[in-house]
Symmetry: C2
Subunit: 177 residues, 2 copies
């Protein structure tokens, strides 16, 4: 099963850091890649590519202009669309059903207002609390619950840098080159 994150409606000035965080969360918590839509922003793409180069992968980073065709195509190819939104069904009620399907998954998170058609095309509209929220927070909780914590011990390949957990202080090792 593959799992990608689709970030909709990116606005470079306003969303640069949030979209970068969405990408970091997707990578750190087990997604296979992120697809960014909205206004093209090479800045975000480069900073995520730099993370993969230094800390390992695989983790795909793509930009797509026409998100509507993209989600239609994913759906036609049998992927399940899961839209994270405060208006959706509580994650605690649906996560087991979502996990029980072996279909590939596209997790959609919006920046600006999400078009109605996304709610309609999605197989699941899922809320991580029904309170005003952060797409970063929702995505992180979704991935942690979806993968049931297994994502936290994922081994990345091709890393140049790696953190060795410490009670206090910082320890980073560098791969022999």
């Amino acid at each position: 099963m593959r799992l990608y994150v689709l970030r909709l409606g990116h606005r470079p000035a306003r969303d640069r850091r949030i979209t970068t965080h969405v990408g970091l969360i997707a990578r750190a918590l087990g997604a296979d890649g992120i697809i960014i839509s909205g206004d093209r922003d090479d800045n975000v793409i480069k900073s995520l590519e730099k993370v993969v180069e230094l800390w390992g992968g695989p983790f795909e980073i793509q930009y797509v202009e026409d998100w509507y065709s993209l989600i239609k195509r994913f759906k036609e190819n049998g992927w399940e669309l899961i839209h994270l939104t405060v208006y959706g069904l509580p994650i605690q009620d649906v996560i087991d059903s979502i996990r029980s399907s072996s279909k590939d998954k596209l997790i959609i998170v919006g920046a600006s207002k999400v078009p109605r058609v996304v709610y309609e095309l999605s197989d699941w509209n899922v809320a991580v609390s029904s309170q005003p929220h952060s797409e970063c927070g929702s995505l992180a909780v979704f991935l942690d619950r979806f993968f049931q914590g297994k994502e936290l011990s994922k081994e990345f390949k091709g890393w140049k840098l790696k953190v060795i957990p410490q009670t206090r202080g910082k320890k980073v090792v560098r791969a022999e080159s």
Copy 2:
């Protein structure tokens, strides 16, 4: 037991939206309040206060200039300090021990580089994956695991607006006034 989030090192231009997201996550996922340090930014404080006014509380929002005195005072008053950092111990190894203590908790998340003394004064330095990460994502996963999902059904008081979960579409009710 009380649980507050301390956001260190806020820089208004760069961190405004991220710090706002940290506040939204803290509120939505069960914290009793957020304390923001770094450069004072009324913009963030007002937008979080607006959320509490519309969507309910209680949820405290404070700014503090001298974070060092603050964490010393919390520690002297018997609070446990938990610093979320990529360099710390894996959350999956320590969350049960952290949860088993009934002490009040201060969860510390940094923006810019976190001073060494924070690592030293903290009772726990905790990593949500040992990968480059987002403080938003780390905080969300920490709170969800700490409260074991109970935070997702928290009832807020004094709300004017409330979301009613839907399979598709949006439903918001307004309190009678």
